[in-house]
């Protein structure tokens, strides 16, 4: 379980996160929703310290961080070795083949045996439907394939949590579907995930828990069914706009 308490992040001209406290249960999928610029990505990126909040507390197993204090490199690495981030722009390593992308972390960070890592990488590639792409470079992949490789790369590290920052926002709907199916499958296997997305249908299907963030504030924190049946007018308006109900 990851818990945060009174997280606060201030950019020079923008108060990105205001006093956010919540928990991300393990073996469940938490979806973070909200309009663009609301602070959802900042919240997610704060969890593996790609962003550094000014204050607040972070609890994750044996790791306890007070953001207002200096954070050692060892602690940062510890957090990152238990979590993985999947990015909107994939961020595959372009100079490495698909297979090399996937075994890079296991072999060079975790120091696993290369043959074993390779064998597992092939299994993961099969799982995300890309068994035949092991030896190509990322530049020859479609966006949907590239994102599935990025997901495979994160799975190969056996993280406790996978964070996904708008994983399908750069994809057209058909390619998006390929990726969403893979994520649903992973969610079914009870991999702990935290997903930032704009796709309401996907959120409704995959989420165990929803967080709704606007202007850096947490406006909703609860079960999925409750979110989609809420009386809160702001949330109802948001959902109806995102699902084009008024079109």
């Amino acid at each position: 379980m990851i818990k945060i308490e009174k997280l606060d992040k201030n950019y020079a001209e923008h108060h990105a996160l205001k006093d956010i406290s919540t928990a991300f249960p393990d073996h469940q999928t938490t979806v973070i929703l909200g309009p663009s610029g609301s602070g959802k990505s900042t919240l997610l990126r704060s969890l593996n310290l790609l962003e550094r909040p000014e204050s607040g507390k972070f609890d994750f197993g044996d790791i306890h961080i007070d953001y207002s204090q200096p954070i050692s490199d060892a602690t940062t690495l510890d957090v990152r070795r238990h979590t993985e981030m999947v990015f909107q722009q994939f961020n595959l390593f372009p100079h490495l083949t698909v297979l090399q992308n996937i075994i890079e972390g296991p072999v060079h960070v975790l120091k696993h045996d290369k043959d074993a890592a390779t064998k597992e990488a092939h299994e993961i590639l099969t799982k995300v439907g890309l068994a035949d792409k092991a030896d190509v470079y990322p530049s020859s992949l479609s966006g949907g394939q590239a994102q599935r490789v990025a997901i495979a790369r994160s799975l190969a590290m056996h993280p406790e949590y996978i964070f996904l920052d708008e994983p399908t926002s750069a994809l057209d709907p058909e390619l998006e579907l390929e990726v969403l199916k893979v994520l649903l499958q992973i969610a079914k296997e009870q991999q702990s995930m935290i997903i930032v997305t704009h796709n309401m249908a996907f959120a409704q299907k995959v989420a165990d828990k929803i967080l709704f963030v606007e202007n850096g504030q947490l406006l909703f924190d609860g079960p999925t069914a409750e979110f989609f049946n809420t009386d809160n007018e702001r949330i109802r308006n948001f959902v109806s706009a995102m699902t084009f109900q008024d079109l």
């Binding site: 593996n48 790609l50 490199d73 690495l77 990152r80 070795r81 979590t83 993985e84 981030m85 990015f87 722009q89 961020n91 595959l92 390593f93 372009p94 100079h95 490495l96 083949t97 890079e104 972390g105 060079h108 960070v109 975790l110 470079y137 990322p138 530049s139 020859s140 790369r153 994160s154 590290m157």
Partner: protein, 234 residues
């Protein structure tokens, strides 16, 4: 006198000077310059603060100094000037150097300053997302640099680094002014004897051109090898 006879008779001497001085000075200076360039570039992009800022400042000063003064003047200061730098206890008789050593030292420092900026630019051209993805799989900054960033920066920096090397090969002709008998100096000596400056200087120019053309071919080969992973653009 027949032009062809001049060419045929002087070529062995010019090429021998090229093999003995021009190429070794260029190659050794460039390799040392690259090492210096990589170290200073890494120091300048380092996120370390504190006392390390002094190192960064020294690197910036060095690059400024060698890019802001003429190479010929640098050669003169090192070879003719430093013997007068007399410091009690350390260099009581000034710093005297063999001309080849003075040449290599100056060319190394000069090309290192230019290549440092090339390498810094190449590293900084790699998208931040690559650092973030490397950090996300648990890499330290130095591992990310070694495994993810530098291999990509090599491809970006190849054309400008090849430029620097080709320039350096031609700039070694300035070593003639500090008594090194490299290709240009040999052609000068022959021209003084046979009164054929047009033929001799054109001939030596042709040999520089041949050397630089071979290097340009090597550059395209290396570009091809390091760009395997990039989709060809029409």
């Amino acid at each position: 006198m027949d032009i062809w006879k001049i060419i045929v008779s002087s070529t062995p001497e010019i090429l021998a000077a090229g093999i003995k001085y021009t190429l070794p000075i260029a190659i050794v200076s460039f390799i040392l310059g690259l090492i210096l360039a990589l170290l200073t570039a890494l120091a300048r992009i380092s996120t370390r603060g504190g006392a390390f800022k002094i190192v960064k400042w020294i690197c910036s000063f060095y690059i400024w100094l060698f890019r802001s003064t003429p190479l010929l003047v640098q050669l003169f200061i090192v070879y003719f000037g430093l013997p007068y730098l007399k410091i009690k206890g350390i260099f009581p008789h000034g710093i005297q150097m063999d001309p080849v050593l003075a040449g290599i030292l100056t060319f190394t420092l000069n090309t290192g300053a230019y290549c440092s900026e090339t390498i810094r630019g190449a590293i900084q051209s790699i998208p931040n997302g690559q650092w973030e993805a490397a950090a996300s799989i648990g890499m330290t900054r130095s591992l990310a640099l070694r495994r993810i960033i530098l291999p990509q920066a090599v491809r970006v920096s190849l054309p400008p680094l090849a430029n620097s090397f080709i320039s350096l090969v031609k700039d070694t002709s300035l070593a003639a002014s500090i008594t090194i008998v490299e290709m240009f100096e040999v052609s000068q000596q022959i021209a003084a004897a046979n009164y054929q400056p047009l033929v001799m200087y054109t001939l030596v120019a042709a040999y520089y051109a041949i050397a630089c053309t071979l290097l340009a071919w090597l550059q395209s080969y290396l570009e091809k090898v390091t760009s395997r992973y990039v989709t060809p653009v029409n």
